[in-house]
Symmetry: C2
Subunit: 414 residues, 2 copies
């Protein structure tokens, strides 16, 4: 049994926003406020930057009802950052500063909510504090719409984004086929290195109105094969709807979005604008068809109005679990999810993964979940993603518009 550690905690949010990262914030903050061992709960303004800048909000000062509304609020309410910590062996100034702040506020618990880079930050801080003999429990709370975190079945944020993408692609599927004339529509979906989000558009197809073709970064992109696929669908159906991951790349690793179009297509123009409009342009030149490019953009990662109840509850649960485990003595871990289908239906339990093994790996879609042609998903992927999008959470509204949390954000005395 671990020693009882008494002191305050800091919670921070890091990396890109999601529909449910604030639900994890709620889980951490609520559990920390309830924990006897935790004397004060601070929220860092803009992630680790708020620690470095001594900009901490006192969460004890917040109205509990407003805190609860964090579950209905997209994006990172405390502010986020993309901040890469140096290797402490090379430059330990940030770490010294963190130690100074932690000492100043008697911080004994640190919870950091983010993706790969954030777990790297978390891991480095954890090891540094250990190396200098400062007792502090450090736990990572996973978050990323990209679903590319290693060591966990899936990641909070992904299920809600997948649900938004599937629903939106169903709607676009209906809209893009409304006229008798031919049209080819390209939808660009987030995912720089892993195709989980674009792959989720396969749900739309499975449920009756989705893309005919899906291209992922897991498979090297070949423009000739792509154009031939599109051509075939267009000739068969008179229309085509295509979903592409923003991260699709040629065999040499260069992103399609950044490259000139393949010389073999006879178009060597430098393209401006997004991937969707670039591909729409290439297809138009190739087929003569009317084309349209659609980029789902930010809306796909922050669409709280379509949050998955499963995702939201798991996000809250991961936050609570982080506090529970830290208080019970654990440190240097990330809360991860293990899927349990042994009862015949989806069930998810928490497991702990060492931070050091999570950081800086990217989990991709298993290749045997992608069809042989490299332009669609197979049943195991649908079985994987389906449980993650289930359920509609309660959505507080005012005049039929979302009611978001309104925090006081009282700064800690400096």
């Amino acid at each position: 049994m671990s020693e009882r550690l008494i002191g305050s905690c800091i919670f921070g949010q890091s990396g890109g926003p999601t529909a449910v990262i604030n639900a994890s914030a709620y889980g951490v903050i609520k559990a920390a406020l309830e924990a006897e061992e935790i004397t004060k709960v601070y929220g860092a303004a803009y992630g680790i930057k708020g620690v470095l800048n001594d900009e901490l909000y006192v969460m004890d000062e917040e109205d509990p009802e407003e805190l609860k509304l964090l579950m209905n609020t997209p994006s990172s309410e405390l502010g986020s950052c993309r901040y890469k910590m140096a290797d402490p062996a090379e430059d330990d100034s940030d770490y010294k500063r963190i130690l100074e702040i932690f000492t100043k506020y008697n911080v004994r618990y640190f919870f950091y909510n983010g993706g790969n880079d954030s777990m790297d930050t978390c891991s480095k801080i954890s090891r540094y504090l250990e190396s200098v003999g400062y007792p502090c429990r450090v736990i990572g709370v996973p978050k990323t719409v990209d679903n590319d975190l290693y060591g966990t079945d899936h990641c909070p944020g992904f299920g809600s984004a997948a649900k938004y993408i599937a629903t939106t692609c169903m709607e676009i599927g209906k809209d893009a086929r409304v006229y008798s004339g031919g049209v080819i529509t390209v939808v660009e979906i987030m995912g720089r290195h892993a195709g989980w989000l674009a792959a989720s558009s396969a749900l739309a197809t499975a449920y009756g109105s989705g893309p005919d073709l899906i291209y992922l970064p897991e498979i090297g992109f070949d423009m000739d094969r792509f154009l031939s696929d599109v051509d075939r669908v267009y000739r068969e159906k008179g229309k085509a709807l295509i979903a592409v991951s923003e991260g699709i790349h040629y065999a040499d690793g260069s992103f399609v979005s950044e490259a000139k179009t393949s010389a073999s297509d006879g178009f060597g123009h430098v393209q401006l604008g997004g991937l969707a409009s670039m591909l729409a342009d290439v297809i138009h030149r190739h087929t003569g068809a009317k084309t349209r490019g659609i980029e789902l953009s930010l809306t796909q990662r922050c669409a709280a109005h379509l949050a998955s109840k499963t995702d939201l509850e798991e996000a809250v649960g991961a936050g609570r679990e982080a506090v529970r485990l830290a208080v019970s003595g654990m440190t240097g871990k990330m809360v991860a999810f293990e899927r349990d289908m042994s009862g015949g239906s989806y069930c998810c339990k928490h497991v702990m993964v060492p931070l050091s093994t999570v950081a800086n790996y990217e989990k991709k879609i298993p290749l045997d979940w992608i069809n042989a042609e490299g332009n669609g998903l197979k049943a195991p992927f649908l079985d994987y993603v389906r449980p993650l999008i289930q359920g509609e959470p309660e959505r507080p509204t005012v005049d039929s518009l979302p009611r978001y949390a309104s925090l006081r954000k009282v700064l800690a005395d400096q």
Copy 2:
């Protein structure tokens, strides 16, 4: 009292899709199936084209439960068209063909669901049939996300699109302000000639998380003033969120989306891509700030998952009313809405407008609803739009994804 007219009816959908045009379809079809005077109910494939091509679906053959699901189904389920009818004085071939088809199927009722151009079609057909002495009652059912139809307080389709735009802008508002660093985000919203949709983003601001500046086609665009507005907001807040109508244009009428950037800004580059990314680029060059352009694209007009219950019920009601009035003897009219606030709350009643007065006029936002600076909306606009977005309709789902209508689409014997 009018003569009782017995015969079949044709219903057609025309123009761009909306989240609730199929709800009007349901209203028309259900009421027509119930009407004693109507012997058979045909749905035209791809609007008036389906009449010209003798491609009619027999709605009597559909499962009533699937028809009901039309209320949950975005886009135009029977197919739509953008087809401009000739002046019959110059070329009456289409009209002769329509008369031939109407005679063949003993069509005595024609319901056409669409916007300005569709009401023009409807009006021309009505007058032609009258001129040749073919008894047929022709009623227009309004539809357009653009809300620019003359003679009606508002238009089915607009309320749901406005709700989607407001909700999405609230989410983008949260996402676009998540980092401590400065960023300027431009959101492009539909509306070629009237700014109703872009203006609806003002709801997001009124409810706590929306654009700082809104630009509409009702006000001549001035790039210098625009950049100065953006600069001011950015300096004050460190971030800026800007909503623009796709139809903003310079004083000379040329669309900003099509023009080179103003020479007075010192950038004369030809721009590719959409308006949002073009303006983001101009702002970046002017301010040096990080910028992002977002085009809401098709998703804003077909987002049935965020449909307004008020809009949906009014769409169904307009369809039912069209049938009721036609059966009772009316012809050559469009079902319109009149707002009644006399009871202290929003109430809407049907009025009939001659088709000839609706066609080809575009209703714009009253200038006194736009602020003096021409970059935002005043309270009367919010009071106007608020009632139209209210309520959440029942949303049938399967596995948490929308369950759309699956029609048999049995073709009439040719």
